[in-house]
Each structure stands twice: as structure tokens, then as C-alpha cells.
Subunit: 496 residues, 2 copies
């Protein structure tokens, strides 16, 4: 077994076993998604020589597959926020993000992010990322127009609305349809290409890190054209290789909750290889049990007028929350079935607009009929609806604090969608655990001591986003691009 351990490709190679350096650079970056691309630009603009090693034959990573909404605000507001009449206070953004991240929040990272977020917006604009000065008022997962600003989280929903003044912070690129990701990565890739001090090696697999006798990371081993090459990285190695949502074994071991999801969100390279390499070099992996998981029950926004219930006919969350928060609480219910009950009137465009894929479990001309058809205990759902409708009439959800904006009595005919994970409904998921880092991107060990020469950003690191129950769309691309920049700058300037 010792033999096997020694020959594993993930174990760091010792510098004494390196016969020659095949390539040298200041900064070696593994992965050319949003994090790796922004890191390269920032490192290069700070005078460093950079090489990006990308497994695929093109840049993109999971950022290119996403909508590339970016969560930004604070400092009085980005240009778009201000143009749309929103003044965003840094403290409100901080309080919202801290509440979102929960007890495992990294206050230093969130503080840093909120304080520099408006400047990050400007940095992206300067790279050529287009944002229109317009507000998308409709409740949506993403803007399908070229409008920019929208609410992408639970800012207006209880309990967050009591903790911080709501403000929309999702910034959508100026492009029609769900095409933000490809456009964003094209702009980043063009910026990388235009910088003489960045080289990109595609179709190149990072095999393992190289450490010296003091355990400093001094380079990495790559495989290219069936050859193993030793890369010396004078400043350090930055891992931007994504999360581990495509690694089933790791999901079972670290994030069992996510095994209830149906659709991993990410690119095929999200196998956790960067996290594993970092761990093997002494980095600590944290928050590994958490992930984004969701029941994307809107659009159409009108489904928000419905109620989500267990098979006891009980509600369990205010339904005006972000879809990931509803998904997170859905997974916690000790219930064999979950339903979304809505008036047929508000079912509306469900069949053409929805991503949810939830089958219709029952319809009824009365609550009692629906209850019977769902096989629920008599007077369970009926009672829930009776109280809910009373509350709607009074304009105040006494039980779950759904905002008045979304309170409307449930009037038959009614429809119940089966939103039980595992029964046809679409449950997207991805991981939120990774290497523990300082805000600078320096990877730390379990005692939070820096692992010299090792950096991580994007989903290979554990960033500002920690839980599905507090997630807002745009936090991941925001975190990836911002953390990439900081890490790139840190490596470029640390040795100076």
C-alpha cells in the first residue's frame, strides 16, 4: 500500500525528484475559467509572467456555462445601481452576505468583497464587459433580456429583509437570452490574448504540485501531448480548477446532501482535482458538506403566489425566497412528498416557461378534492389553505412572513406540482466547499497557516458563498472573478 501511495499522481512531487525544469514562469495558473482568466489578467497587469494550463481545448470553465450574472454593489452603488435609482450601502450588502453565509461566514472575505465590489464592477467595465443601465423588475432566475440589474437572491424576503435594507445586486451582461457566460468568457479570453506576458496551454492536465524540502510549492507537473513536464513557478501556483460536483465519490464522502440533486451544474473538469492537489500539499478543505441545491420553481414568477407543502399539508418556508433557499429547506423536511400548490390562474405559463419539470400530481376544484387526490390526511392541506387565505386577505403572512407582495388567496381550481427530489423535478446542484484561503488567495492549512507558494480561487477555494439557504445568483461568478483577481495580484506582488 505504501507503494501505491507513493505513485499516486496527486501526491506532491518532491523537488529532489525533478530532473529538469521544462518551463519556468512567475505565476502558474491551473484552469482558465472566470477565476483563472481574471487572475491571469491581474497578475500580468502587475508585471508578472503568467502561464495558464487548461484541461479543455478552450477557455470557459463553468463560468462560460453560467448566466454570468455577477453579484456586486455597496459603496453607494455601481454605476448601474445608481442609474436605476438604487443607493447601495456597503453595510447593507455586508449584513446580507453575512446572514446568507451563516455561522460559517468568513467575515474578512465578505468585508473585503463588499468594500471592493463597486470597484470590481468598474474593473470589469474597463475590460469591456457591457452592462446596460437598466432594471429588470420581474422576479426571475436570470434576465433573458439585455437588461442588467435584478434581484437575484432573498434580499426582499424574510428574515433577510429585517437584517439589511434590500437592494438588487445581480448584474446581467448586456446580451439577449441566457448568453452572459459565453460573452463574459470571450471578453476575458480576448483580454488574456492581448497581454504579451500571458501564455495559455490548452489540452494540458495538471497532475500534481512540486514542493521543495521545506514544503513550499515551487511548481507543478503537467501532462501535454502525452508528456509529463515540470513547470517551475517562481511566484507560486494558483489553483482555479473548479469544484468537485462531477466527482461522485467526493460528493458521497463530503457532501451527501447534494446526492439528492438531479443535475450537477458545472463543466466536466469539476472533478475536485485542484482541491485534492491542494489538500495533498497541506491545504485545508473546508465547508465541504455545503453546496448550492435548488428547486427552481420560478419562472413563471406567478408560481410565487403558491405554497410549498410537505405530505402533511404543512408549509415550511416563505415562498418568496430565492429558489435555492426553498430547495435547501425542502431537502430538510422529514417528508416523503413535497408539493407546490397554486391556483390554476397563476399556473399560467408554467408549461412553457418553467425549468422545474415537476409533474402535475393533482388538480382539484376544491381544496378538499386536491387533498384527497394527493392522498393527504383530511383537513391537513385544507387547514393550511384556510389559514393562508385568511392571512392573504389581511395582507400579513402570520406563519412564514411571505411578503405582502406575494400574498393572494389560493382560489380553486388548484393544481399541485410534485416537487419531491427524485420524482422528475429538476434539482440542480454544485459544491461550495474548497480550499481554505485568506482573502489574498493564499491557501492555508487546518491551523490557518499559509502553505507557501500555493494559491486558490474560484470554486477550488471556499469563498464568500457558503450555503444554498443563503445563496443569491451572481455570487459565484462574483466570487470567482474577484478572488481570482486578488490571488493574481498577490502572487505577482508578493515577491516584489
Amino acid at each position: 500500500m505504501t507503494e501505491k501511495a507513493k505513485t499516486s499522481p496527486v501526491h506532491p512531487r518532491k523537488v529532489r525528484d525533478v530532473k529538469q525544469w521544462d518551463l519556468e514562469t512567475d505565476v502558474a495558473i491551473v484552469g482558465f475559467g472566470g477565476a483563472g482568466g481574471c487572475a491571469a489578467i491581474e497578475a500580468a497587469d502587475n508585471g508578472a509572467e503568467v502561464i495558464i494550463f487548461e484541461l479543455a481545448s478552450a477557455s470557459g470553465g463553468s463560468t462560460a456555462l453560467s448566466s454570468a450574472e455577477i453579484y456586486m454593489g455597496g459603496s453607494g452603488g455601481t454605476r448601474v445601481q445608481q442609474a436605476c435609482g438604487f443607493e447601495d450601502d456597503t453595510e447593507d450588502m455586508y449584513n446580507y452576505m453575512m446572514a446568507s453565509a451563516g455561522p460559517q461566514a468568513d467575515a474578512a472575505k465578505i468585508r473585503n468583497y463588499c468594500e471592493q465590489s463597486a470597484a470590481h464592477f468598474q474593473w470589469l467595465v474597463d475590460l469591456g464587459v457591457p452592462f446596460k443601465d437598466s432594471f429588470h423588475a420581474q422576479r426571475a432566475i436570470m434576465a433573458l433580456t439585455d437588461d442588467c440589474l435584478l434581484y437575484t437572491g432573498s434580499e426582499k424576503a424574510w428574515p433577510f429583509v429585517e437584517q439589511a435594507k434590500p437592494c438588487p445586486r445581480g448584474h446581467n451582461l448586456e446580451v439577449e437570452g441566457d448568453n452572459g457566460g459565453p460573452l463574459f468568457m470571450k471578453i476575458i479570453t480576448d483580454n488574456v490574448a492581448s497581454r504579451a506576458n500571458i501564455a495559455v496551454h490548452y489540452e494540458t492536465r495538471a497532475l500534481t504540485l512540486i514542493i521543495d524540502e521545506d514544503d513550499r510549492v515551487v511548481g507543478l507537473v503537467i501532462r501535454q501531448n502525452q508528456q509529463e513536464l515540470n513547470i517551475r513557478a517562481r511566484g507560486g501556483v494558483l489553483l482555479c480548477a473548479g469544484g468537485f460536483v462531477m466527482n461522485e465519490e467526493m460528493l458521497h464522502k463530503y457532501a451527501p446532501m447534494l446526492t439528492q440533486g438531479t443535475q450537477p451544474i458545472g463543466n466536466p473538469g469539476d472533478t475536485g482535482s485542484g482541491i485534492l492537489m491542494g489538500m495533498a500539499a497541506g491545504g485545508a478543505a473546508i465547508n465541504m458538506h455545503e453546496g448550492f441545491v435548488s428547486l427552481p420553481f420560478y419562472p413563471p414568477a406567478s408560481l410565487t403566489y403558491g405554497i410549498a407543502i410537505t405530505d402533511r399539508g404543512q408549509r415550511f418556508v416563505n415562498e418568496d425566497v430565492y429558489h435555492g433557499r426553498l430547495g435547501a429547506f425542502a431537502l430538510r423536511q422529514l417528508s416523503q412528498r413535497l408539493y407546490l400548490v397554486v391556483s390554476v390562474e397563476d399556473y399560467g405559463d408554467y408549461e412553457t416557461m418553467s425549468y422545474l419539470g415537476a409533474p402535475v400530481a393533482a388538480t382539484g376544484d376544491s381544496v378538499a378534492e386536491l387533498e384527497a387526490e394527493l392522498g393527504l390526511r383530511a383537513d391537513s392541506l385544507a387547514h393550511t389553505v384556510a389559514l393562508y387565505n385568511e392571512d392573504c386577505a389581511a395582507g400579513k403572512d402570520t406563519l412564514f412572513h411571505k411578503s405582502a407582495e406575494w400574498l393572494k388567496p389560493l382560489e380553486p381550481p388548484l393544481v399541485a406540482l410534485d416537487i419531491t427530489p427524485g420524482r422528475g423535478v429538476f434539482v440542480p446542484y454544485f459544491t461550495l466547499g474548497g480550499l481554505d484561503t485568506l482573502p489574498t488567495g493564499e491557501v492555508v492549512n487546518a491551523q490557518r497557516e499559509v502553505v507557501p507558494g500555493l494559491y486558490a480561487a474560484g470554486r477550488t477555494a471556499c469563498g464568500i458563498v457558503r450555503r444554498a439557504e443563503g445563496y443569491s445568483s451572481g455570487m459565484s461568478v462574483g466570487d470567482a472573478t474577484f478572488s481570482g483577481r486578488l490571488a493574481g495580484r498577490q502572487i505577482a506582488t508578493a515577491g516584489a
Copy 2:
């Protein structure tokens, strides 16, 4: 920062930096609790020379502080199970433990445990551990008599009752009162003392592991009488240093759920030092987010006739489950208050018998009065009680599947206990994450490759017990003693 990293005591010392070996042995064990003690005995009985290093001035660890109930069965039953008329099938035990551990179950470990558990009982008996052939029928957290066998989990509760034939498997030592732990550790300590090939060094702190140039663990550094000594361990080092419940920083980082608990269960040495040492030497830590957490709402057993509700007046779990399972589901509710509602008649001996410490939130001569006094929405609790009482009359809990044995209509006068964590109630907790090991106790890295020379057992390892929601009393001491034995045997025989 490099300098700080290099001087940290947890980083493995490299053998090249060891000027001399101050002591040599076959097996070095860190920690003299249940795991360390049983490991030492087994290693010694397999011919190895053993040294135990214990931080405290006496043996005991968390096992001595516990009730030392031991979860055992299978193979047709232990002597006690058989004497009490229970035939325990290994498959039933396996199915129950697999369901308990959930998606993160380690099937190999649980299989091994269930198959060898009855033999483990005999091994303990042979060491002199006394078990009386008697059954303690009352629902209890622990037997306060010298009776042995009791139900200590959720075996008879839904959904487990549908997954495996219930059988009591908690084995209490033959001693009056809650005194199993001290007696158990006295017997183990006497057994250790009677073996010439085991030495024990008390008041000795393990500082770090020593690794050779191939990253094999070859010894450890200890501090004793203000001196650092290098210990060579020819066979390997076994970490039995407990969990990390006393390390607040680690709790926040790895197990945020547990920060809702009020009382850490463990000894002051449960600082995670063993886990951190193992991680620094390449071991993977898994299941770090999970822990035992509980609302110990019985005794008196009669409180099981009550219902647990949220501040919406809704039940959320069948109340005949183990107290840890109720606690785990309590923590998942999106509720600002949680109550246990019971008839005054069944409140009974609460004030003298209970560990719960939950203050009385309200009393009422009617449900409506209780509801109003608790500030619940009108007709929320009233409706819940109405359905529940109907179900009790019919002998079938249609909503939460509480067993008929515990169904009795809630008749006023009623009392509501405030069981909200953070408002006076006792919420004990401890960690269930640790180093990933093979059933042999060999520590593995994130790729599940063996870290040569490194072993872990007890709560320093991640064992058979993975979740509060599936916990049964006796699983921890069962796991600690059994995993200690296996690891001790493995080290003693691996080099042979």
C-alpha cells in the same frame, strides 16, 4: 508567514531533523481513553511493545465521562440479548446502522462492526467487564439501575422500524447509577497495567508526528517534564486523542450546526489535536460537519406522549424517536421558537427527573388558552392537537408515524416547555467527524490511499456513527473500543 508555518508544532517533523531517538517502541498510542486502552491491550496481546502517551494525569478520556453504554448485537445475539429473549440478526443490525448513518455511511466498517460485535461483547467480558443478564424495559437515556440491556436508539420508531426488525442493543454495565464510564475505564486501565509490554506515560503531550523522506510516519514528538522527546514507533503511531468538540475555532469552521448546542460532551483534551496532526501528515478528515446534538426530552418517558412543535404550531417529527434525532430535526426548523406540549398528567416527574432544563413557556386549561399564551397564531396549535387527538383515538399517527405505544390524546390542562436552543434548554453535543480510516484503523488520504505508519481510532477517526439523526446511545463507546482493538491488532501484526 513561511517561518510561522515551519515552526508550527502540528507540522510533521522530518526525520532528517531528529538528532536522536529518546524512546523506541513498536506501537505508540496517543490518548488513553476507551479507544487507546483497548488498542493497547489488543496490540500487546498480539506481541507488540506498546507505549501510551496521555495528556492527563490519569486514564479515562471521554469514555470515563460517559455512561459507557455499548451498542452491540448481531450474530444471533450477545449472551445478554439471548438471556433476555432477543435473537438479534446481523442483517437487522446492519440495516439499522446503515439507515442511521445515512448516505455517508461506511458500509465496510458497519458490516465489520455488525459481524464482530457479539464477539466484541465476549472480549469485553473476558477483560472483566460485567454485564447482567437483564432487560431495562423503560424508555430511558441510560439505565440508572445495574440492568444491562435497553433500547438506546430509534429502532422501534418510524422509519427505522420499517427498515429493520427492532432489537435492543444498548449494553449497560452492571453498576448502579450513571457510573458505567468510570468502572469501564478502571477495568481497561487494570488490564493495561497487568500487561508487561505496555508502558503508560501520563502528563505527556503529543506535539507532532515524525515522517521520513517517503512521508511514512515513523514516530512522534512528545513533551514531558518540559522536555521534547523524539519517540520512534517501529510499527506506527495510533491517534486516539478524541474529537474536537472543545475547539471552538474548529467547530465554527467545520461543524457550524453544533454551535447551537449548549454543552460540549467530552473531556478537555478533545481539542482536535489528533485530527490536526493526522491531517498535517496527509490524512483526510471527513464528515467534519456532522455531530451528535440532542434535546434530551426524556426521562421522564411520559414526555414522549407529548408533541414537539414549531412556532407555527406544527409538529415536525415522530416524538418516539431517540432524543438526538428529535434534536437534529429541531435544529432544521425555520422557527424562532420550539415547544414540547404535553398533558400536565404526563408532565409528571419532569422537574425532578429531567436533564432538559427547558423552562415552562405556558400552561393552559384549553388548547386555545395555551396557543394564546404562547403567542401562536389562532387555530394553529389547536388544529394540530385536534388532528393528533383524532389519530390517537384511532391508534394511528397519520402524519408522523409515531408508534401506537406512545399515542394518547393530549387532554388539558396542558403545559408547553420552551425547547428552543439558546433559551435555557440543555443541548449536549459532540463531533462525529475525524480522520478517514480503513476498518483496520489505517488512516487514508483524500484518495483513500493509506498514509503509511499512521492509524486512528475512536473519535479521532470517523467511524461507524455519522449523524445525530441516526444516533443511538452506545454507538460511540462501541465504536471507540472496537476500532481501537482493530487498529491495535493491525499495527502489531502488520510488520510481522
